[in-house]
């Protein structure tokens, strides 16, 4: 269970990463938290010829709330693609009861420390929590490629299990969610055979 050979490029900016993806074409993959990709590499189920590592692209490490109207707990949330799940969980603890609850259900502490919010969303595993949140919260992702930038709404993102409408050369830079206002009600339930 060791990966097949691949080329590897560590990038420091979005521009570098997008350029590398453009060069790699269909056989390039983005490496961020690696919580899904690395096991697939090890099992040789995924065999990219190029891995574009974005772990040093610090411009993607932000959590912003826009148009909060002073409430501080609602509005359009923008999460940079390198934000770890644990980081957003810490942010959400005081600000978003819904998100705070959801993160408890994701993997284990070690997985949340490494796994990114955007990574889970674009991996498109129907058993994962964050895609459901993206759909429920009217979310979208911002994708950039050498061809430009576009925003893809959640309802247009998911085509099938583990399949999105993103192209191989597109890098998701940003996740957008509309958080429900504090006075609104919410619920989160999950049936899983195993946690």
């Amino acid at each position: 269970m060791k990966p097949a050979p691949f080329d590897y490029v560590a990038t420091k900016t979005v521009a570098e990463a997008v350029a590398a993806l453009a060069r790699g074409g269909d056989d390039a993959k983005v490496l961020a938290g690696g919580q899904s990709l690395v096991p697939m590499l090890n099992m040789r189920l995924a065999r990219p010829t190029l891995l574009v590592d974005v772990n040093d692209v610090s411009e993607l490490e932000y959590i912003r709330i826009d148009g909060a109207g002073g409430a501080g707990d609602a509005g359009a949330l923008a999460v940079g693609a390198l934000v770890r799940q644990a980081a957003l969980a810490r942010w959400a603890a005081e600000r978003s009861p819904l998100l705070a609850e959801v993160f408890r259900w994701i993997g284990h502490a070690a997985i949340r420390n490494r796994g990114t919010v955007a990574g889970s969303i674009v991996h498109a595993d129907p058993a994962a929590e964050l895609p459901a949140v993206l759909l429920a919260c009217d979310g979208a992702v911002v994708a950039r490629s050498a061809r430009g930038e576009r925003t893809v709404a959640a309802r247009d993102l998911y085509l099938a299990p583990l399949t999105t409408s993103l192209a191989a050369d597109e890098l998701v830079t940003d996740v957008r969610l509309t958080l429900p206002p504090r006075e609104s009600g919410w619920g989160f339930a999950e049936v899983a055979r195993r946690h």
Partner: protein, 793 residues
Amino acid sequence: MGAKYFGASVPRREDARFLRGEGRYVDDLKLPGLLHAAFVRSPHAHARVRAIRTERAKAHPAVTAVFTFADLERWMKPLPLFGAVPPGLAARVAVTMKQVPQYALVRDVARHVGEIVAMVVADSRALAEDAAELVEVDYEPLPAVVDVVAAGEPGAPVIHAEWGDNVAVRFTTGFGDVEAAFREAAVRVSERFTIQRYVGMPIETRGVVARWDARDGSLTTWNATQVVHFVQQGLVAALGLPPNRIRVIAPDVGGGFGTKANGYPEDLLIPVAAIACRRPVKWTEDRREHMTGSAHARGQIHDIEIAARRDGTMLAVRDRLWVDLGAYNSWGIVLPYNTVAHLLGPHRVPNLAVECTGVVTTKTPNAPYRGAGRPETVFAMDRIVDCLARELRMDPLALRRKNYLTASDLPYEIDIPYRDGNPLVYDSGDFRANLDAAVTAVDYAALRREQAELRARGVYRGIGISGYVEGTAIGPYEGATVRIDAAGHAVVATGACSQGQGHETSFAQVAADALGIPLEWVTVVGGDTAAIPFGVGTFASRSAVNAGSSIHVAAGQVREKLVAAAAALLEAAPSDVEIADGFASVRGAPASRLPLARVIQASLPTFAKPGPVNPDFEATVYRHQPTVTYTSAVHIAHVEVDPATGAVRILKYLVAHDCGRLINPIIVEGQIHGGVAQGVGGGLLEEMVYDEQGQLLTGTFMDYLVPTAMELPPIETVHLEFPSPRNPLGVKGIGEGGAISPPAALANAVEDALAPFGIRVTRTPLGPDVVRGLVRGASSRGGIGGAAPPITK
């Protein structure tokens, strides 16, 4: 024997290093010049290997060697076979049994996905895997044989041509007049039950390291095995070396469960690679390999019938069963016969007829896994007992109370031989006492009241009972050497190695008591063929009884030698000398107290004179254990089932059991907890699923679900102690017991919870799809309440 430590909850001495990550496993071993192996494994369930081309792999710059069967033919002796029919069994049961040599590398036909076709040795594991992809194999696919019943029928594609069919084991046995009993019985219930294929899943996968020493022509191999001496014997046969030139070491091993008590191709291939390459070689199994390359287990079908009087008195059981053995039959009668010998368990049943068929299929070979036939047979029996209760409109508890054997019935003979050929006679216990203890502990009556109240509100809770009687600690022996060093400390060596059972604690308790020294002075060595020349190994709940008893006897003999030496030094009669806490003294004369180190020092010869006694403070005992001791338990599961999602939640799980005298309650409870966890896996989560082409569909932990702490309820235990008369410690085996009853208890609980739907649970694991299917089927038959018989006393 002073019992200072025996029976005490001594914290496990080995845990400090395990919890700190300081254990040392096979994969931790680093040797200079180490090479790494990877294997080319068959992607087909059944295929003739037409040609293997290794040139491209050999040309890889990191590759040292590539081996096929033809390359290693001189060493390719058949892998070890187990489970021959012992004379005592053959005399009473006509067993047809076929076994076939299995080789470490495919010679001509691959018979399961994952069977090893070629071995690549390279500078690193990753590079070896790259090169393995360059080996080209021409396969001619042959028909897969997957369904166990169909595989045994005439006309099925034959897996081993020389057999003519796929039936590896067949026998009938029983006693009494079953036909008459069924004819005359007021009530008869029958059902087909399917126990899925599920497996032992140690956290540490298997691994082998081998080093050939050209200086003296000796081999040392480290192997994550439960059976170092069996591995040694296999190597002796294949390599033609005497045992003293082959040292097999099992260092810390992270779980075994029987999976590592099997004979494996890699046990031979890695040593052979080390000899051929003249360099040390390592292989650590990865989880993907483990899923198809390590033994599978379970996988049975039972067509079982029970006859009873209207008052619930059981009259007869008839069972026709099929055991899926996988591609080979290296375990002979073990799984089929274990299944049959444990069918009746705690019940008094005067008539029995069993027809057992063990069949080979093109799947990973099966081997004993924690329970080894018992969870399967208990599932069939406890399910049909609950079906009978429903038919009789009787509470399943009342039906069991009526038919369970009690202490006054024991010793009790089931009139067929045990697997070892000896009479099957329960030695001690009180199975109804187990039941009553369990029922009291869970407050069964309160649970029944709560069940009725909640049902009215649409909440479905159920209670499931399962009981077993288990032959544990199969012999014929496990040896022990006890040796005292110059400080008076002891080393205990035994062939029974630990995979987490806590031998370094429990065996030390036994030895320290028998020697009269502090526990801290005892070092336990298991898993090294250089430490003791003969051994059997750790499996079948056998170590406490077999090794523990030999340790007890050997340590007693060493104590006698110490007493003799102390008596000479103290100028006292040996009968007046006592040893305690590491000191010798004359009874009633505390001033005479001498440290054992002084006694030992004084026994050594000096220039002036020979020692007063020969300073031989060592004894080796291979105590004979002719047959098994019988452990028993009752498990009660309390569950809640959501009919909308099919989710099953365990609310409470209780085990009331007897494993004789407890050496260490913490360790016994740990064994039960671990066993129950694996039983919950079998009941709710785990299944090795094959498609019709014999491809494994559950080859990763994404598909094969093992329970974690999150899925497990708190497990309560009640200890009953009925000492075994069959060994000097009065102990019985408890390694497997926890895993035996959970599938049956959970299935009974789920059926009980969904009783208003009139469903019948016939298989495990009870995943949401299965539970929803049952509920849907019930709804289409007329819905809830349609056919639910009320339960009355």
